[in-house]
Symmetry: C2
Subunit: 359 residues, 2 copies
Amino acid sequence: MPFSPDDIAAIQTPAVVIDLDIANENILRFQQYASSHSLRVRPHIKTHKLPALAELQIAAGAIGITCQKISEAEAMAAGSSAIKDILITYNIVGSEKLQHLKALARRVKLTVVADSATVVDGLAAAFRTEAEPLTVMVECDTGANRCGVPTAEAATALALRIHSTPGLVFGGLMTYPPIGATAAVEAFMTEGKRRIEALGIEVPVITSGGTPSMMHAADASVTTEYRPGTYVYNDRSLVARGDCGWENCALSVLATVVSVPTENRAVIDAGSKLLTSDLLGLTGYGHVLGRDDIVIDQLSEEHGRLVSTGPIGLSVGDVVQIVPNHACVVTNMVDTVFVVGNGLRSVEAWPVAARGKIV
Amino acid sequence: MPFSPDDIAAIQTPAVVIDLDIANENILRFQQYASSHSLRVRPHIKTHKLPALAELQIAAGAIGITCQKISEAEAMAAGSSAIKDILITYNIVGSEKLQHLKALARRVKLTVVADSATVVDGLAAAFRTEAEPLTVMVECDTGANRCGVPTAEAATALALRIHSTPGLVFGGLMTYPPIGATAAVEAFMTEGKRRIEALGIEVPVITSGGTPSMMHAADASVTTEYRPGTYVYNDRSLVARGDCGWENCALSVLATVVSVPTENRAVIDAGSKLLTSDLLGLTGYGHVLGRDDIVIDQLSEEHGRLVSTGPIGLSVGDVVQIVPNHACVVTNMVDTVFVVGNGLRSVEAWPVAARGKIV
């Protein structure tokens, strides 16, 4: 990686560091796959929360971005004039959020989703008096058992409701499937598209997402658009799945050893307030690069405990580099990330514009 | 609780809300116990990260505060002139952090800890040229297997090193014990005190901490000071242990139902970016007040999934109030908390001054 010893010495730990060259490679790899299969790419920015990274994704060919919350979308739109097309894959509920949605829709091409008549009716009430209608997709549950209508029949009924409602335009079908559910996506979406088109309603977009399944996205041939998030950075969960290697991980955490109380144990200055408690089914809270023998077996808020079956071989003051289990949640813990690569002459501190945007 | 329906309607969800009346009761309850046992109280502010809450704790009788990181201590000191005495229970390592430590020590009465000669020597190098010496305690491992010297003998050797070093003053012994380890604290600290005093060195303070064991703090009679953190808010982990009831929980999360896809499932707009993945040994990610039948069985970043064995009985737009598993980490996720009680005429939004202070 292009971090020099001087770069690392200049960074106060604990810190999140981003290698833009690796991120760029990750962006281009998926864009190439998607383009060769006529899939449009709409990255989910929850992973980086950085307007400048979204600009790299758009420059590579992405048609726009995906956000999860209205405040997140506002922060991204405010951060870059290149961000002109935003899909918020969330049910927007409540009058104040709808006011924000109206304001944002006047600034960018905006699409939202809905999975119930209640959500559709709220959107309609807000947009009835707007000059431009709001594009609304139907969220479909293809097995994740989170949000989404459960059947193609239900998707069709909601599509018809959107289509028939002044102030709204039906935008297509959206799903966030479980890992490996490409066949379920294909079946649900094909049936939904058939039924909706049978009513004389166009289905302009069918969008799916998720990094782990992205290199099989085109197997669901009905899909027109894909929304990967984590792919820009990758993380330990994806390495563990065999989806990438450590050399493809663009985000890592620098931490300093602050205590070596026993021969087999060291404590670092990064705890759950940086690495987070997300396990994603793994053992331990991250991977110490170059040290396969070490397990980060316990986190408290400001301490990470490293244990090894052999001598830990670390001293107070040593800096370790860790690939976290889950990149997206780590980005959300810091106001600033430290960035190298992409022609930057030295390490730069970038504010994480959309951090903490939960509303 | 004193939140009115109007208050709640004015708060955009998801949000962290704080009931200051409950927090005050929690503060006074432990202060009374501690005072009646001649224990000084030095609350850990990691739970609230709010200068105004520290002021309430100091007004109730606390002698100062505890912080974990130098940037956290700086934010608290900057936030209130009532904060004049800070213990940082952390090994401070690295030249830039030591510069910050020197600057802070000129503003407040500052104490830090060390558990190795390397840390002591770093502190000494920084403070050798200062007008006032730095007070340094020895961190002792009484069973938590995190930081700390492992034996009373090792504590004595390090105390002697601090005592003998220009620029430093030995401040006593500090431990963060595992839950229920009062006897281990008593044994370790009594032996350490005996050995250090045998060298003619005074042991002015013996400080322990942790909310779950706090009402037995005085059972370790050698302890002179106690550092509870979570007690100010309480949380689901403490209710589950029988240490308090829901009515003693001052921090809760307001969330809006955004989807009810099946009869037994609802999805709220609070996910791991607010409730966090901290389980603390519990099942589920928080308790929905008034709904013992509901389990928050899955979080993604912006979604929380609520399931019930019976009908979930919630509609899109309903607001639920959740006591999280772990209050301290939830505070760290938000820029602002919404506060009522303590004579405030209406809900107020308070910035979380020490949020995200990991350096």
